[in-house]
Point group: C2
Chain length 395, copies 2
């Protein structure tokens, strides 16, 4: 959907002649009161559910959650997936032309915040004729948008579902974002954010950024379970494969000679892949660097850094959330060390202190922050029950 | 000390005509039984204690622990600090000339392991006429060397002090090392590890590596306490300083306008420093990139990755530690998520199953992995008591 009028941004800048890409699933009912807006996190888009015709691998990023008969049942709800401003999956972003200059935005794309995204989403809903959402939902950064909706447009949201999120980033969260940004910005191919016109991409920086991100999305437990200290590619035991170099089996002559066949040989290299986890991370980094925009990475991580609704209230989250009128479901995951359960509990506490209706589920799951995207019977069950209760209240 | 004979390495390679830089503190007694060897971690050296004449800021890295009247009392013990092979603080490393080729080693410096370092340290002790150590001690990677001493030379170690260490790296530990290495190796100024001859240094990569490392050395708690979400440089409240751009104080007209003077203005930039933690990390990265060698970074992180004494025993740490004859003190820190207390407890358990004498202290300290370098009354007290008991047994 194209928007002519300028959207004022929190920074004081504005953006005009922008487009928002979105998808919808299910039918808007006659009362126009069954709409559910789904907000995405860093590396996702408007394509939240289903597959495109003839593209088997085009599954939406929350397809396990949203669809006919699924926890967010599109037989009952009209679901809207939207790609945010500044992203690189269809909506206006740094790779598009600035109408004020006729040049590609690049690093000149204005800094956008969670609040700006919510404002843009509200304009889209205006155009769709949706006055009030049955629910707004999201995980991680998407959860921040859901929370912000209840503060910016309290009368337009009946329910907010905030998954694996936080009321702001901790210093450590910001630190990880900053290292990723520095890797991108100091890549010689970044060219100050105007790499498009040089015909290059700062792939080195994007790879590093993604590798760092991936570590923070997983738990130590699940990494040990999936990869542990396994070597890559799996090598044969020394007795069956190539002979290891002399001395490679440990300094302890007796026992290690005895145990030798159990331990495959190290390659002894600082630059080659030795462990499975290295291979996995390099692969994730390579893939990401092929399709993700470097300026988008900067913008979205900065939106994360800036989000802090309590900031204008001297850090008092309870006062900050006083404006919220929605009912809430919050979900967190026990091994999520990026947005730990304690961060969700801060939101729950502040809502309860404002006497808001809030349900909270802390799911014991091993997958770290990524758990919000994965199947887990208890997690899916909680969301399903919550949306069933929304449906019943409407019926 | 210069060594002519080749040192065989675990990789099957060897290194000849190498030098080890070391310092000693206190006096070796007539019985030659009061020597304490101190092993260093990634970013440290032989200079463990004291200051160089006329250099006020040249304090040794474990000066709070080692010196006259300190927990490791140099009035009683003869302390030896040694710089490891492949490091960049004096001992033979990648920046030195390979006697076989007449060219600077660079990336061709052989991969060295914890076991190789211990072998090299043992040769130094041979030259110093020290048959048996009163104790070997170290923190982090230094603790791995102390543990390895008890396995490689069980008869030469009476006590091992292993602080904030682990029996091997977890997948997550390896992952952080790998991202740091990729940042260095993919820096165009790395030149395949032969940057010396190009007259450049891969500073970009080293900066990123150090920033990642720093995050893992600190706890989330101490980062929040030291930096939190503070802006940098501290900005005046909007009412006293420059006016923020329009709209910068939040989307909520009423309350945020009211609260405006409390919240300093964001700059809304993706590349400039906005938060204190960013400034801190950039500074750490810049400093490090001025003095640390990139090839050394690769070598030392790889030595960490490879260390795994249980590997030759099908992962059975109890069997792996059966050779140890020393008495042990292990110390861990509650908020250390890099080498968490659980990793030290694995060592304790394996030693106890071998009926070895082991003392273990888990210190409740907020500083994360860095705690092993910092003053903490209980930590210092535990080490002091342990060394006093060593001294009494000798007296």
């Amino acid at each position: 959907m194209h928007f002519e009028p300028a959207l004022p941004l929190q920074s004081g800048a504005s953006i005009r002649e922008y487009a928002l890409t979105f998808e919808t699933y299910g039918q808007l009912n006659a009362a126009r009161d069954n709409a559910v807006l789904v907000c995405h996190a860093l590396n996702a888009s408007h394509h939240v559910a289903g597959r495109y015709a003839g593209q088997d691998k085009s599954e939406g990023w929350w397809d396990n959650m949203i669809g006919p008969g699924k926890p967010v049942d599109t037989d009952r709800f009209f679901v809207i997936g939207i790609n945010n401003l500044g992203s690189c999956f269809g909506s206006t972003g740094p790779m598009h032309v600035n109408p004020d200059t006729g040049r590609v935005y690049g690093a000149d794309f204005p800094v956008v915040t969670v609040e700006d995204w919510v404002d843009a989403q509200a304009r889209l809903l205006d155009q769709l004729g949706i006055t009030q959402l049955a629910a707004v939902m999201g995980g991680s950064l998407g959860g921040m948008q859901a929370l912000s909706w209840t503060l910016q447009y309290p009368e337009r949201v009946r329910h907010a579902v905030v998954v694996a999120s936080a009321p702001n980033l901790s210093a450590e969260n910001i630190a990880f974002n900053e290292v990723a940004r520095r890797a991108i910005v100091t890549d010689p191919d970044f060219h100050g954010g105007h790499f498009y016109e040089h015909g290059v991409l700062p792939r080195r920086g994007l790879r590093i950024a993604r590798m760092i991100g991936h570590i923070t999305y997983l738990s130590d437990d699940v990494m040990n379970e999936k990869f542990g200290r396994e070597l890559r590619p799996p090598t044969l035991p020394a007795s069956q494969g190539a002979l290891p170099p002399q001395g490679a089996l440990g300094p302890i002559g007796g026992p290690s000679a005895l145990a030798a066949p159990l331990a495959p040989a190290y390659r002894y290299s600082t630059q080659d892949v030795e462990f499975q986890i290295e291979s996995y991370l390099r692969h994730q980094g390579d893939k990401f660097s092929e399709y993700f925009d470097a300026n988008t990475y900067l913008l979205i991580t900065r939106a994360l850094d800036y989000f802090d609704p309590a900031r204008a209230f001297d850090g008092d989250l309870t006062r900050a959330l006083a404006r919220a009128a929605a009912k809430f479901l919050l979900v967190s995951f026990s091994t999520d060390w990026r947005f730990a359960p304690a961060r969700s509990r801060e939101i729950v506490k502040a809502l309860l202190e404002n006497r808001r209706a809030v349900s909270y589920a802390e799911i014991d799951a091993p997958h770290g922050h990524d758990a919000f995207l994965l199947d887990d019977a208890r997690y899916m069950g909680v969301v399903r029950s919550y949306f069933e209760s929304i449906g019943r209240a409407q019926a």
